[in-house]
Amino acid sequence: MPESSKMKKPDVKVVLLGDMNVGKTSLLHRYTEKKFKDTISTVGGAFFLKQWGPYNISIWDTAGREQFHGLGSMYCRGAAAVILTYDVTNWQSLAELEERFLSLTDTANLDCIYAVVGNKADLTDPKAQRPQETDVVSEDRTECEEDQTEPQVTSACPTPPASPASLSGLMLHQQVTHEDAVAFYGRILRYKGLDENNSLPAEKMCFETSAKTGYNVNTLFETLFDLVLPSILRKRNENQESPTVDLEECRGATGKRSRSACC
């Protein structure tokens, strides 16, 4: 993760929330490294800096374990987007989002946007099983690894653990439908006191992804990044108006102004 070390000041923050074992770290991995690899349970949290055009976006991967739950609201403070992640094969993971994680987002920005993401879609949706066009790198190696990791993941879930054999043959019964997620999104808006008509529509903000095959992963992050751009611009403007004199910022700002003036 050399990118994360560059110590650039992030312009905006995106936070991944969700119960343990839903695949937050894997999603981030898939997006940043185009690979699906063995992950261990995240301790505390980690973050990744993504260069998006001229902006730096920090993506925080939080720990799903109950033990670290208290840190969640701190991670969410000032977030411009929150990705609420559940496991499509585990209904409880969606319920947990509502019970435990939604309240953590109280510290996020007022205009924070929310995405509801059902991961592990490859277990329920045939079209999510094929490796994705943009993620050609998902070599055979990841396929092999899956046999080792997936049973652990499922056994940790409250759902009855599926045997490795059934994974390859049978399709798991999808425990969370897309409609459930859409309904949950509606409840998020209500919880936030937002008007559904003025907010982003549920169809746009509910995703089903597969970190394993890469299905929908890029779409998810890139959609969100595009949506938080206004937030970045607003934040930059605020910074320019603040009484603190940041020499670097000023240089950038005056540069911009003079450029627009001469045009």
């Binding site: 993760m1 050399p2 994360s4 070390s5 560059k6 110590m7 992030p10 301790v43 505390g44 949290g45 980690a46 973050f47 925080w60 720990a63 374990r65 033990q67 670290f68 208290g70 840190l71 609201s73 701190m74 991670y75 403070r77 000032g78 510290t107």
Partner: protein, 945 residues
């Protein structure tokens, strides 16, 4: 104490002041001056005060790098500072409670209410290992019989702030005497559980210290100002719960409460909950690590970062559950638990080093110096110089980590020095990856590190030109002597490395990376291409390049790349050498299969060669080898207007002994370039004729060849008007085989009767006769044409000759030819004359097509002239009508009236009247008749004529 007094002038008395390195640590005996490479600076992290020291330490370390190569990464070294016997001797129950360090002054508070004052000196052993010597200056009993809980120095005030038995008071830093209360206010605070000093105070007063104080059983934090002899309460803020640990930066208090951490702005009262924490279970840790940033112990053994806004800007580190103390020594988080010191990187959150440390008790950082204490002794955790750490990482091939560490230290190093270091580390990283054959990564690092590409080239034996002044950078960027050393005899590895260098040099040779060493790069590339039999060798030599001739010649000869060598000679302006070499290859004296068509290449080369001496010199070789292709040297020269280009006369002379080539050249000159010189046309015609004659004289006639040769001759004779006809004719005068050619020549001489006679009577080739007539009259008017056709008809019908002509051809044939001619070209003939010539006996039927056409033509002429006549008549009538009309009235001409054609006035009475009665000058009309009327504007009245 002088340096402490000196720090009064510092803006913030408690910001950890930078100290000068002790005098005796300056470079002295024991260091060979050559060992100190001024271009190899090394740095310490946060230890600006000891840069000098560390520089010398690190140099020693570099010398021992090879020894350390096997060791794992070491970021810190634990060095004893104050041993047990200096503190408490063998008194078992006496423990260290707190420590403070200010410059060289170390204060230790014990549980028996003593403060010990030591002078701590850093000494460097000859081996470069840091160590500390401590000298006890004083110890003082505070008289409270309770442990000294906390000690903080206020060096600007020369005071120690002491917390003992719940009381905060001040003691003199030198004498350790308690400072008596000043008249204006007390110098004591009672009921205190903990306090902290603001290292980034908002108040700019250098002669006071701001401190945050927590009290017994009170949910408040009090802010005091500490002066030399008094303390003053300036602010009190309440907290929702009992606070148990505090840290202060600016207006921001970072507090550990009973169940959570929070940030509290004591100026505005605004608060920000951070996260829950049970302070009953674990001792909370609140440590200011930077401006408005704190390090907190979080549940689950985490070290969390939080800034004053309550936001975490760094990912947490995972230390143990039982951490007692933690601090930051950039870029590391150092944590202490009962038996270990753990060191995590803030850059990648990884555990970097673990040191065993028993009875750990206190971990603090003073002025960037990490000091630890067990219950009985004090230690310093000395960071190894950054460069050393990086080199250790590189030595164990942990490239990513080394780069992360380097880049993470950017803010602690001056920009220019950082850039030098960063580049060097990138280059080293690149070489490590190169050694592991990870070429993609290596290339990227070479690129970012702006590697002098010769460093890489010099790894490959014999690639650097002998004349190159390059020497490898010192200290070396890698451990390899050369490629063979790297590959350990594995030829496949060597090959892969060479392929990599080929692609790498190919990429950089046109970029600025190659600036200043283009010769070296291009020569190396040439050698590699030649050795690897690479296709791009020719591209390299054919385009702009800086290959060194002296170095490349033997190399190319060694690999039999003679064609390429020729290209190199050519590029260096030695065309003659190139040609000599190529000719030897083409003649088979040398072996090089690069081009199977080398001969053609040489011809092309000569063809475009501007050096005419060379052309004359080597054309002979080319012509002897193959005249047909060799003549391209002359025929395919790019058309240039240059006067100095080849003169055709010279060429023709030169080609005298190469008859085949001469013919081709003349054909080129005459037929393609269409030269208008009689000499060449005649010469070509003669050559054609000679060819035909020689073919004719051969005993076994090759009909096909003969036909082709004759066709050429005939075509030339027909189409060219420049050759000397009589001369050619003279050469074939008595040859019975070349009748057609002779006829053509007679035609050229306008001796059509002779020509036709030959064609009709000697050759008896009527189609040719007809074709001749058409050809001979093709550019002439119709009368001439008619004359020729009549001539031909006359020849056909000439009975006197018919009888005499050779037997075998009956007169009927001639008659039929005459009939055909008439019927085919009836329109050309004058029908009346024809009818007069025709024999009486011919049937009408025979001439029907001719007669029909003749009658129709005559009818047509008749009617056309009738129409013309009618039109002229009507025009005449019209004019008469106008004239009559105008006669009725006078036509006025005066000097004031203008002519309609020239608009000048009339000066004489003689005028011409245009139709419509318009008077104009006589000379104007005359001019108008001469010039077409469209050239000048017409007057209205003349429009209808």
């Amino acid at each position: 104490m002088k340096h402490c007094r000196g720090s009064i002038y510092n803006k913030f008395p408690f910001s950890r002041t930078v100290l000068n390195a002790p005098d005796h640590l300056h470079p002295a005996a024991g260091f060979d001056s050559e060992q100190i490479h001024s271009d190899q600076p090394s740095y310490t992290v946060l230890h600006h005060g000891y840069v000098n020291v560390c520089l010398y330490v690190s140099i020693c370390c570099l010398q021992r790098l090879d020894v350390l190569a096997e060791m794992s990464v070491k970021a810190f070294e634990l060095v004893p500072a104050v041993e047990r016997d200096l503190l408490m001797g063998d008194k078992a129950r006496i423990n260290i409670e707190c420590i403070e360090c200010c410059g060289k002054h170390l204060y230790v508070g014990t549980n028996d209410c003593f403060i010990h004052h030591f002078l701590l000196d850093e000494v460097t052993s000859p081996k470069g290992k840091p160590s500390y010597s401590s000298q006890k200056l004083l110890h003082k009993y505070l008289g409270l019989k309770k442990p000294v809980a906390e000690l903080r120095a206020a060096s600007a005030l020369e005071r120690l702030i002491v917390l003992c038995d719940g009381i905060v008071f001040l003691v003199d830093m030198v004498t350790l005497e308690t400072v008596p209360s000043a008249a204006g206010g007390g110098a004591k605070i009672r009921g205190v559980t903990a306090f902290c000093v603001n290292e980034n105070p908002v108040s700019g007063d250098p002669f006071c210290v701001e401190m945050g104080v927590l009290s017994w059983k009170r949910r408040t934090v009090q802010i005091y100002m500490v002066y030399e002899d008094r303390v003053q309460l300036v602010k009190e803020v309440t907290t929702p719960e009992q606070p148990c640990a505090v840290s202060l930066d600016g207006y921001f208090l970072c507090l550990a409460l009973a169940t959570q951490y929070m940030i509290l702005n004591y100026n505005t009262g605004a608060s920000q909950d951070l996260f829950p924490y049970n302070s009953e279970e674990r001792r909370p840790i609140v440590k200011r690590i930077d401006r408005e940033e704190f390090l907190l112990a979080a549940p689950g053994g985490l070290g969390m970062f939080a800034n004053a806004e309550g936001v975490s800007q760094r990912a947490p580190v995972n230390w143990s559950e039982s951490v007692i103390g933690a601090t930051v020594c950039f870029p590391y988080v150092v944590a202490l638990d009962e038996s270990f010191i753990t060191i995590h990187s803030m850059l990648d959150q990884q555990l970097k080093q673990t040191l065993s440390f028993r009875d750990g008790h206190i971990l603090e950082v003073f002025e960037g110096k990490v000091i630890l204490a067990s219950t009985k002794a004090v230690y310093v955790l000395v960071p190894l110089p950054l460069e050393r750490q990086i080199q250790d990482l590189l030595a164990s091939h942990r490239v990513e980590e080394a780069l992360v560490l380097t880049e993470g230290a950017q803010r602690n190093i001056p920009k220019d020095k950082f850039q030098i270091l960063h580049k060097r580390i990138l280059q080293q990283a690149g070489f490590i990856q190169f050694g592991q054959l990870q070429f993609l990564e290596a290339k990227e690092h070479f690129r970012k590190g702006q590697l002098d590409v010769r460093e890489l080239i010099s790894l490959y034996p014999l690639l650097m030109p002998a004349s190159s002044s390059f020497t490898r950078c010192h200290p070396p960027l890698h451990e390899f002597a050369d490629l063979n050393h790297l590959a350990q005899g594995d030829q496949e590895k060597v090959l892969r490395c060479k392929k990599f260098l080929i692609s790498y040099l190919g990429e950089v040779r046109s970029t600025e990376v190659a600036n200043g060493c283009r010769e070296d790069v291009d020569t190396a590339l040439l050698k590699l291409y030649a050795e690897q039999d690479h296709d791009s060798l020719l591209d390299l030599l054919a385009s702009e390049n800086a290959c060194l001739l002296t170095d490349s010649v033997p190399w190319l000869e060694k690999y039999h790349k003679y064609f390429a060598l020729g290209l190199l000679y050519h590029y260096n302006g030695q065309d003659s050498a190139a040609l000599q070499l190529w000719i030897r290859v083409a003649d088979g004296d040398l072996e090089d299969h690069t081009r199977s068509d080398l001969y053609e290449y040489v011809v092309d080369f000569l063809c475009s060669c501007s050096n005419l001496d060379l052309v004359w010199k080597y054309a002979d070789w080319a012509l002897r080898k193959d005249p047909t292709i060799g003549v391209h040297i002359f025929t395919k020269r790019p058309g240039s207007k240059d006067q100095s280009d080849l003169n055709p006369d010279d060429v023709v002379t030169y080609l005298g002994k190469h008859s085949r080539a001469l013919l081709l050249y003349l054909e080129h000159v005459v037929l393609e370039r269409r030269t208008q010189k009689e000499r060449f046309h005649t010469h070509l015609a003669v050559l054609y004729l000679e060819r035909v004659l020689s073919l004719l004289s051969e005993s076994s006639k090759n009909e096909q060849q003969l036909t082709r040769a004759r066709e050429r001759l005939q075509a030339l004779l027909r189409e060219s008007n420049l050759y000397r006809v009589q001369f050619i004719l003279g050469k074939m005068e008595n040859n019975d085989h070349l009748l057609l050619e002779r006829a053509t020549l007679h035609g050229k001489l306008e001796e059509h009767d002779k020509a036709l006679h030959i064609l009709v009577h000697e050759l008896r080739d009527f189609p040719s006769a007809e074709a001749f007539v058409i050809w001979a009259s093709s550019c002439q008017d119709s009368a001439y044409r008619q004359r020729l056709f009549h001539l031909l008809l006359g020849v056909y019908l000439d009975r006197t000759l018919t009888g005499k002509s050779a037997a075998g051809v009956s007169s009927g044939d001639l008659e039929m030819a005459a009939v055909d001619l008439l019927n085919r070209h009836g329109e050309v003939f004058d029908a009346v004359r024809v009818l007069r010539m025709l024999p009486e006996g011919w049937s009408l039927q025979l001439l029907r097509p001719f007669l029909g056409r003749a009658v129709r033509a005559s009818m047509h002429a008749c009617r056309t002239s009738q129409i013309a006549l009618g039109l002229a008549h009507s025009e005449n009538l019209q004019l008469l009508h106008d004239r009559l009309k105008e006669r009725k009235k006078p036509i006025l001409v005066s000097e004031k009236k203008g002519c309609h054609l020239c608009h000048n006035t009339f000066s004489e009475p003689d005028v011409v009247c245009l139709p419509g009665g318009v008077p104009v000058h006589t000379h104007c009309v005359a001019q108008r008749v001469r010039d077409p009327p469209t050239k000048r504007p017409l007057t209205n009245s003349s429009n209808h004529t």
